[in-house]
């Protein structure tokens, strides 16, 4: 097979080449796909800290499982072709003038079409359940049912702050969430475009000025998670992170009380109207000043 000079080849030889490739591919896929799905899949980030993160891992595992046979096929094909069909040393010899085979074309089109449609359909299904942690804009279509705790994420150059309308519009520079709760994150910005990325929770939603970008996440057990900005927003974009915590409900209440203490002195200023320089809780803000005075 490998390295043998060949003249015009009889049809039987071509069938055996093809059969060998298909057989090798079937065996390799049959071995690799379950191994990948079972052992590699669960290792894929972002992990299990929230329902959405778990869904993403599930989605990624399925995609990996579908893609593994594709990779196996290409690996087998190229390894076989590049080794078996080497030119013999010596003068340049032409190969057989094969220009087309409509069966192969049709088979390929059907196979790639099916894979693509399956992946698109599967992804859509996952997405429409509850948004998979991504920002859906001001009118989300994938809304999970039940009670949701509203938390607003305000991006500004260059820090995230958080407001809790259920705690009287309290603003804080720490993100603390109660465990086992569905959270509705309302992400907005005061200036440039930022992106709120809570890595372990599997949440990412761009913060746009004047727009409320909604994302849903259901927390699980208490944990800490990294929050960072995922959209270039100027000088300190790389340092625009603060870390958040998921704590159980009693701890959350304690934290809320402590923050309300801290917030109390600035609350009278915040509650003034926007034209007076205040910032009462709202889904979007158009803060002044727009340019430096003088």
């Amino acid at each position: 097979m490998a390295g043998q000079p060949s003249a015009a080849s009889p049809p039987a030889e071509s069938t055996s080449h093809g059969l060998r490739v298909v057989l090798a591919w079937l065996i390799l896929s049959a071995v690799a796909t379950p191994l990948v799905a079972i052992y590699v899949g669960p290792l894929i980030p972002p992990g299990n800290a929230s329902t959405q993160a778990t869904e993403q891992v599930f989605d990624n595992t399925w995609m990996l499982a579908v893609i593994t046979p594709v990779i196996c096929f290409l690996v087998v094909f190229f390894a076989y072709a590049l080794l078996s069909f080497r030119a013999a040393p010596g003068g340049v010899v032409d190969g057989p003038p094969l220009r087309n085979d409509s069966r192969v074309q049709v088979l390929w089109m059907i196979a790639t079409g099916l894979i693509v449609l399956f992946l698109a359909g599967f992804g859509t299904y996952e997405l429409l359940q509850n948004g998979a942690g991504g920002g859906q804009g001001p009118d989300p279509i994938a809304v999970p049912s039940g009670q949701k705790l509203q938390v607003q994420v305000i991006g500004q150059q260059w820090q995230f702050t958080y407001r809790y309308p259920s705690l009287g519009g309290l603003e804080s520079n720490q993100l603390v969430l109660p465990a086992h709760t569905y959270i509705e994150l309302n992400v907005t910005s005061l200036d440039a475009v930022h992106s709120f990325w809570a890595y372990e929770l599997g949440v990412k939603a761009d913060a746009n000025p004047g727009v409320n970008n909604v994302a849903y996440v259901q927390t699980k057990d208490p944990t800490t998670f990294h929050v960072r900005c995922a959209e270039l927003c100027g000088l300190w974009h790389p340092y625009m992170f603060n870390n958040g915590r998921v704590v159980d409900t009693s701890q959350f209440q304690k934290w809320a009380t402590q923050q309300e203490h801290l917030y109390a002195s600035i609350k009278p200023f915040m509650d003034k109207s926007e034209s007076d320089g205040g910032a009462p809780y709202s889904k979007t803000y158009f803060p002044q000043p727009d340019r430096r005075a003088g």
Binding site: I266, R291, G294
Partner: protein, 226 residues
């Protein structure tokens, strides 16, 4: 062309390229940066104590910067000179006493929440000798914030009709100013960036261009070293 001549040309080209690249890289490492200032450390009863004296000015002036109209922070060094350096070496596990003299007028905070001082001892600052736990956000002239340490405070501005406002930096105590004092603690070593949150820069839209986005003016680092 003879081989020798070609070799010479290639050698010249390579050296020229090397020189250009060298200039490029060395310029880039210093462009829009700031020299580091090591703040002197005192030992008080076995604790490390550091005093930071800063001033914020409305226009930095041609002697201190190629952009004379930019706002800036300045730090006072041991000889009493005011320097435009915003990267400071501080010791870890130390107490830092900060005094800020503000010579600039107010322009208002985009997010009024940041006028609530937090992260320093007592969660309050002294403004002109009086302890305060909230500044009027409309009165904010600049902020000093180290987000990674949770330190935020707003600095109130000089009144618009104040007598003897400061022109170009460095400003003298005889110019109209506000005095802010507070104390915070450094803990673990690391690089902590600090910034101002008031849009006090020139330029249209959001006022966050220019000095607000350039280290050496309204942004810098605290290099906390063990």
């Amino acid at each position: 062309m003879r081989v020798g001549v070609k070799l010479l040309l290639v050698a010249v080209a390579v050296m020229a390229a090397g020189v250009v690249i060298g200039f490029y890289v060395s310029n880039l490492t210093t462009l829009a940066g700031s020299p580091t200032y090591s703040v002197p450390v005192h030992n008080v009863d076995g604790h490390k104590v550091v005093n930071l004296e800063l001033q914020t000015v409305a226009a930095v002036g041609p002697k201190l910067s190629p952009n004379p109209d930019w706002v800036s922070y300045l730090i006072k060094d041991q000889s009493g000179q005011w320097k435009r350096e915003t990267v400071w070496d501080l010791p870890a596990h130390a107490t830092v006493h900060v005094t800020i003299y503000n010579f600039d007028g107010a322009s208002g905070l985009r997010n009024p929440y940041l006028a609530r001082p937090q992260g320093m001892v007592g969660n309050r600052i002294m403004v002109d000798g009086k302890p305060t736990d909230a500044i009027d956000p409309n009165d904010a002239s600049h902020t000093f914030a180290v987000p990674a340490l949770g330190l935020i405070l707003a600095i109130p501005g000089v009144a618009d009709d104040a007598k003897n406002p400061c022109g170009y930096a460095p400003c003298a105590m005889s110019n109209a100013h506000r005095t802010i004092k507070f104390t915070f603690h450094t803990t673990t070593p690391g690089h902590f960036r600090w910034q101002c949150f008031v849009p006090c820069a020139a330029g249209w839209v959001y006022g966050f261009g220019g000095p607000m986005q350039t280290i050496g003016y309204m942004d810098g680092f605290l290099n906390v070293k063990a």
